[in-house]
């Protein structure tokens, strides 16, 4: 990556107003999560809660941490650790019978 690429990536960052909009979206998603908690507890609600959690995660990593605009190398470093962690622990939880299939 050249310095020009870096500069272009920096220009692609959202502005202050967009950051505030993103924070409002995160707050709304959190409010929906809490609302779902009080609504009912079933498998579908759990699935939606996990989806909302993943969405908030991606928004913060992508926009606030700028990974959406940053180098592929950084994306690989972080997603490498994340994917490895998810894989290892999901397998471990299945092995110990944490999920009833």
């Amino acid at each position: 990556m050249t310095a020009t690429d870096i500069t272009e990536a920096e220009h692609g960052h959202p502005g202050d107003a967009q950051y505030i909009l993103i924070a409002v979206a995160l707050a709304v998603l959190t409010a929906i999560e809490v609302g779902l908690y009080y609504l009912k507890h079933d498998t579908a609600t759990t699935a939606v809660l996990l989806l909302l959690m993943a969405l908030k995660f991606v928004i913060v990593v992508g926009f606030f941490m700028h990974l959406k605009f940053d180098s592929v190398l950084l994306r690989r470093l972080f997603s490498g650790g994340l994917v490895l962690a998810v894989f290892i622990y999901v397998v471990t939880l299945f092995m110990f019978g944490a999920f009833h299939v």
Binding site: M1, T2, A3, T4, D5, I6, T7, E10, H13, G15, D16, Y19, I20, I22, A23, L26, A27, T30, E33, V34, L36, Y37, Y38, H41, T46, L49, L50, L52, M53, K56, F57, V60, V61, F63, F64, M65, H66, S71, L73, L74, L77, F78, S79, G80, G81, L82, L84, A85, V86, I88, Y89, T92, L93, F96, A98
Partner: protein, 200 residues
């Protein structure tokens, strides 16, 4: 090698073959490894959440409205952190200090909430030794709290450096690196809030 030559024009003090500073690469690698640490702690909690033979368990004691407000506070601290970075990238050192101090304050509010929650749980009979679920709960949320506290110390150090004029626009990357750590602490809480508190 052409990249190296061009990189001399960038504000980063040392040119690297990737065009990205070593400190930033190191922070992302560290955050990738932190996924494994928190993954282990979250998995342990999931594994032990329904295996207690004596109560009370955390689910009986959770105050969801209170924790929701704490989560909102931590989310908003991510906003103030990113606004601090945007300010210094524009060269606005005064706003940098304002947003950094705001972020540290919001982090302190979150930690105060966690201390209140822990105290309340202990008074109601759930200590770290009460059962396996409470043990896993305190270790997970406690580790997260320690990370937030370290983040607050780093933020206050940045405010101190900025007051002394040591964070000009050209050194904005130091704010970005601390910001990455802070946002990571926030995303870990996003997972904890859903998996530990909201999913029964």
């Amino acid at each position: 090698m052409t990249d190296l030559a061009v990189s001399h024009d960038t504000p980063t003090p040392h040119a690297t073959s990737t065009g990205i500073s070593n400190e930033k690469v190191l922070m992302w690698a560290f955050l990738g490894s932190e996924c494994l640490l928190f993954g282990a702690l979250i998995s342990t909690y999931i594994l032990y959440r329904h295996r207690s033979v004596q109560g009370p368990t955390p689910h009986l004691l959770y105050d969801i409205p209170f924790t929701s407000v704490s989560s909102f506070v931590l989310l908003m601290s991510s906003l103030s952190m990113v606004l601090a970075l945007a300010a210094i990238q524009r060269g606005d050192e005064r706003r940098l200090r304002v947003w950094l101090a705001t972020t540290a304050t919001l982090g302190a509010v979150f930690i105060s909430g966690q201390i209140y929650e822990f105290t309340s749980f202990i008074r109601r009979g759930m200590t770290i030794k009460t059962n396996v679920t409470s043990g896993a709960f305190y270790v997970l949320t406690g580790f997260h709290g320690v990370h937030v506290t370290i983040g607050i110390i780093m933020l206050l150090s940045l405010v101190n450096l900025s007051v002394r004029g040591k964070i000009p626009k050209a050194r904005s990357e130091i704010v970005e690196i601390v910001g990455l750590y802070w946002h990571f602490v926030d995303i870990v809480w996003i997972i904890i809030f859903t998996v530990v508190y909201l999913i029964p």
